[in-house]
Amino acid sequence: MALLGAGVIGGLILTATVGPVLMKQNPFEQNLLERLSPPSSVHWMGTDDLGRDVLARVVQGSRVSLTVGLLAAGLSVFLGTGIGLFAGFRGRGWDAVTMRVLDVLLCFPTIFLILMVIAFLEPSVLTVMLVIGLTSWMGLARLVRGETLVLKERDFIWAARGLGLSETRILLVHLLPHLLSPVMVAATLGVGGAVLTESALSFLGLGVQPPNPSWGSLLSAGKDYIHMAWWLTVFPGLALFATVLGFNLLGEGFRDVLDPRMER
């Protein structure tokens, strides 16, 4: 299953990088004579209400989804790991304060937090990415903090202190590598989540702005024609579904391989 996930993601990355170059159709070119035509040998996924090729737009949209997904998850992993390490390693007051702030942040529904931030910023690929990254690190921070609390009492960490190594060195060289597996699992699953959140935002019109296609905005635009042109919603929806499934499968595959406590 994990291989299937990796395959899907591999295909997706390929599509996002070389796809738009290979496509004959231009995702932005309108052709009012061929409005809302069903899938055919020329337009494999049909055309939309302005006669644009849906396949070309879905392929173009994969760039947005993947960029936002990867960068947002990257930011979230960076923040979550850093803050979790800091809280767990410093302990005492630092830990207590950080964790209470985290508790408060976790009380807000994520979508509410995101809408709040978006309200103050211009919607764009960059803002969407920042916002998703900034609102999704809390779970990982908790996980990392918990692991750090256990790890820092391990004998080899005490031994490292006893040998006069600095805290920075202990953190980066001796502690961080042990967190690799939970962080990798969280990162992979996080990409899927971020892709989904980006689509939700774009669907609401708060994400990527037209005419730039994103899977969320394609779905949103398609919903008005859902009775007469099913291809406008089904294909972007399938792309979204496959992507998120791919990342989740891969993430769970990582967990099976990396976590010795899980039975294979």
Binding site: G91, R92, R154, D155, F156, W158, A159, A160, R161, G162, L163, G164, L165, S166, R169, V173, H174, P177, H178
Partner: protein, 316 residues
């Protein structure tokens, strides 16, 4: 070179403080060795960590100081402390299975100590250290991960790490407890040889009195956080004065005597959060008399030796 003066320390717990060290005074001269013996919970490992000022967060020092070459280690700045730990003082921990980082090669870990204390990594120095601790085939060991080595090999690596900073004092906290009996002896002989060849001082902490019989210059016996008897190893072994030391020695098996049963000390060590009043040893002491249950005896010196027991008011 190392002087511990009236060190008292406890661990904070929810209800009662756990007394770990009570008024401990010890000294160690350069190039000599001191053995510290005691049961589990007697405070001997806490003592070893206290010398490095490497105590857990819930430990609180209530009194006393530790002087290393005249400087109080509790006054060191974090920076000085880092330079000192692993530099002038090396430590070997009890369990070589957990005191090495499992995700780095052992050569890399020793090299790291060189980077911190000797101004840079140096593979050939690491190999020389491996040679010094009698690891055969240093080249292969350098690139090995801890799980690929045996317990004895790992403890030699840990020892190499402790030696990497060229320490003047080596602290060994039960360095052989986790090892096979045959390997134990090799490590002990290695430690002894290294102390002589490098002219280091050695603080050797163990619960196994038998290990120290002829390997240290001086011996300190700890019970319930305080030193009950101290002196040159030979004197202590031939003429133990404190009833606890006498009990420990008579419970060692001997090859020259034929006895059907080993004598044992009755009872168990006291709970360090609820020490008995008076002398902490009195509930188990075979020679208990009047003052023992009310007054805690202080260590008294007789020449080179000291004893904390009401039996010895005048020189014996």
């Amino acid at each position: 070179m190392l002087k511990i003066e009236n060190l008292s320390l406890h661990y904070k717990r929810d209800n009662a403080p756990v007394l770990a060290l009570r008024d401990v005074s010890l000294s160690l001269e350069a190039g000599t060795s001191l053995g510290v013996v005691g049961e589990s919970g007697s405070g001997k490992s806490t003592l070893a960590l206290a010398v490095l000022n490497l105590l857990p967060e819930n430990a609180h020092r209530t009194d006393g100081r530790i002087l290393f070459e005249g400087k109080n280690v509790f006054d060191f700045s974090p920076r000085d402390l880092r330079r000192w730990r692993g530099g002038d003082v090396g430590i070997v921990f009890q369990d070589p299975f957990s005191s090495l980082n499992p995700v780095l090669t052992v050569g890399d870990q020793v090299d790291e100590v060189l980077a911190v204390h000797r101004g840079g990594r140096n593979r050939s120095t690491v190999l020389a250290l491996f040679d010094e601790v009698k690891l055969s085939n240093p080249q292969r060991i350098y690139g090995a991960y801890p799980h690929q080595l045996s317990g004895g090999q790992r403890q030699r690596v840990v020892l190499a790490m402790a030696l990497a900073g060229q320490p003047k004092l080596l602290i060994a906290d039960e360095p052989t407890t986790a090892l096979d009996v045959t390997v134990q002896r090799d490590i002990l002989e290695l430690l002894d040889g290294l102390r002589r060849s490098r002219g280091m001082a050695l603080l050797f902490v163990t619960h196994n009195l038998g290990l120290l019989l002829d390997r240290t210059d001086r011996l300190a016996v700890m019970y319930a956080g305080s030193v009950v008897e101290m002196g040159p190893t030979v004197d202590l072994l031939t003429d133990p004065r404190h009833p606890y030391t006498q009990g420990l020695l008579s419970s060692l098996p001997r090859l020259t005597e034929r006895r059907s049963r080993l004598s044992v000390l009755a009872g168990a060590p006291p709970d360090p959060s609820h020490l008995p009043g008076g002398c902490a040893f009195h509930p188990r002491c075979p020679k208990i008399f009047d003052p023992c249950s009310t007054k805690d005896p202080r260590g008294r010196f007789f020449g080179e030796r000291s004893v904390a027991c009401h039996l010895y008011r005048e020189a014996p």
